[in-house]
């Protein structure tokens, strides 16, 4: 089953303050919506724990939106 942006919002519930998370548009860059580097760090670790996937520097440059992250998780999981 594919991972969706809604799934990620649940996974990231502790990584990002609830008021910020509630307003996130999955199609818009997270950085422009109040998600800072520390929150993204916590999100990356949460991805490791939830899905066993690790963002590489090469991946990281391309992942701007929640939809980008969901698509990337699905690609990595499909390839593994």
């Amino acid at each position: 089953m594919s991972v969706t942006a809604a799934d990620l919002k649940k996974v990231f519930a502790k990584a990002v303050p609830a008021d910020v998370m509630a307003k996130i548009d999955p199609a818009q860059p997270m950085a422009a919506q109040g998600v800072d580097s520390l929150a993204i760090t916590a999100m990356a670790v949460a991805l490791q724990h939830a899905y066993g996937v690790t963002v590489t520097p090469e991946d990281g440059v391309r992942l701007k939106t929640l939809n980008d992250v969901a698509a990337w998780v699905n690609t990595v999981k499909a390839a593994s």
């Binding site: 502790k14 990584a15 990002v16 303050p17 860059p29 997270m30 950085a31 422009a32 998600v35 800072d36 580097s37 520390l38 929150a39 993204i40 760090t41 916590a42 990356a44 670790v45 949460a46 724990h49 963002v55 520097p57 090469e58 991946d59 990281g60 440059v61 992942l63 701007k64």
Partner: protein
């Protein structure tokens, strides 16, 4: 020797050549990175960062050469430093306990995964770093994000420092810091304590995965030798910290002297770090609690052996402003508040 003003003037005259969206690599600091690190501090903080060292490349190189600063950096292909994190020697008497607290990302790369890669690289290197036996951080409790991120990298909360930070604006209240600890290499140690904090200590030791022999002492116990205390004054924070290595028969008068020094220096907070490897300092807990000190928790490896934190504040802590990420951290707050902690 370059001064802070000279270094900042030089940094201000150099254009920022960092462009967004480029590939980066993370690795150990090399001496040639020092100029880029100084430029990054200037880009992020302007001229406001309180420590001169990070603006002066030769000082950065010297600190790294001496092992007082152990950085990991993120670089672009052109060598520009876009991210920095470091372990550094701070105030613990034990040099093998280093603080982990610096994390900078160039504004063009905020919202990227640079900080995650920096932290991951640092954690992966910990066991190979000579002389580093444990690391700790002080997560400011105005937000839970730092606490949460620290826990995800294997840190465990062991103490809550009430009123450690000056208030950001009048009426905002002094900030608390959650002490988060990660052991690197350790052995079984004796941890002396009195009955009043036995339950809390058992929980903290288990939570941090420490191998400790908990030894109960009587509140009247003193050490055979003389009292030995070293104080550290942090004027900008308004905090006096006393490292209590041993307490002899003059303990009560000596502890009173320390507290009087704190208030005379204009401090708002007096912290006692009691070396729990000896019975004397640990036995002073009931005495300090009667004098208005609260039990803040355990600082593992502070002296190489562990420290019990007792703290006294001139003004009551603003508990409603302390944000904590876990039930165990909330239990630390309840413990610190229940046991006093204000003058």
């Amino acid at each position: 020797m370059t001064t802070r003003a000279e270094a900042i003037a030089r940094l201000g005259s150099c254009p920022d050549t960092v462009r967004p969206g480029l590939a980066y690599a993370v690795g150990d600091f090399a001496p040639d990175d020092a100029e880029g690190v100084a430029a990054l501090f200037h880009t992020v903080y302007g001229d406001t960062y309180p420590l001169d060292a990070y603006y002066i490349p030769e000082t950065i190189r010297r600190l790294c050469g001496q092992g007082e600063l152990i950085p990991v950096v993120a670089r672009l292909e052109g060598g520009e430093v876009i991210g920095f994190t470091a372990l550094y020697k701070a105030s613990p008497p034990f040099p093998g306990l280093m603080e982990f607290g610096l994390g900078l990302v160039h504004p063009a790369y905020r919202g990227s995964f640079v900080l995650f890669h920096l932290f991951s690289a640092m954690m992966a290197r910990l066991e190979a770093l000579p002389g580093v036996e444990a690391v700790f951080g002080e997560a400011v409790c105005d937000t839970i994000i730092t606490q949460h991120a620290s826990s995800l990298f294997g840190f465990h909360e062991t103490a809550l420092e009430l009123g450690l930070m000056r208030e950001k604006e009048p009426g905002a209240g002094r900030g608390a810091c959650l002490v988060m600890f990660r052991n690197v290499r350790d052995r079984r140690r004796v941890l002396h304590h009195t009955a009043c904090c036995a339950g809390h200590l058992g929980r903290l030791v288990a939570g941090a995965g420490l191998d400790r022999e908990l030894v109960l002492v009587d509140g009247g116990d003193t050490d055979a030798g003389p009292t030995r205390i070293a104080t550290q004054l942090f004027p900008s924070a308004g905090v006096l910290r006393a490292n209590v290595f041993s307490l002899g028969k003059d303990r009560e008068a000596e502890l009173v002297k320390i507290e009087q020094q704190a208030w005379a220096e204009g401090c708002q907070v007096c912290q006692m770090y009691l070396d729990a490897s000896l019975p004397g300092p640990a036995a002073a807990v009931p005495l300090l609690r009667r004098a208005g000190y609260g039990f803040g928790g355990l600082i593992p490896r502070w002296f190489d052996s562990d420290a019990l934190l007792l703290q006294k504040l001139l003004d009551p802590p603003r508990a409603e402003l302390i944000n904590l990420y876990s039930a165990s951290a909330e239990a630390l707050l309840a413990m610190a508040l229940e046991s006093g902690g204000e003058a």
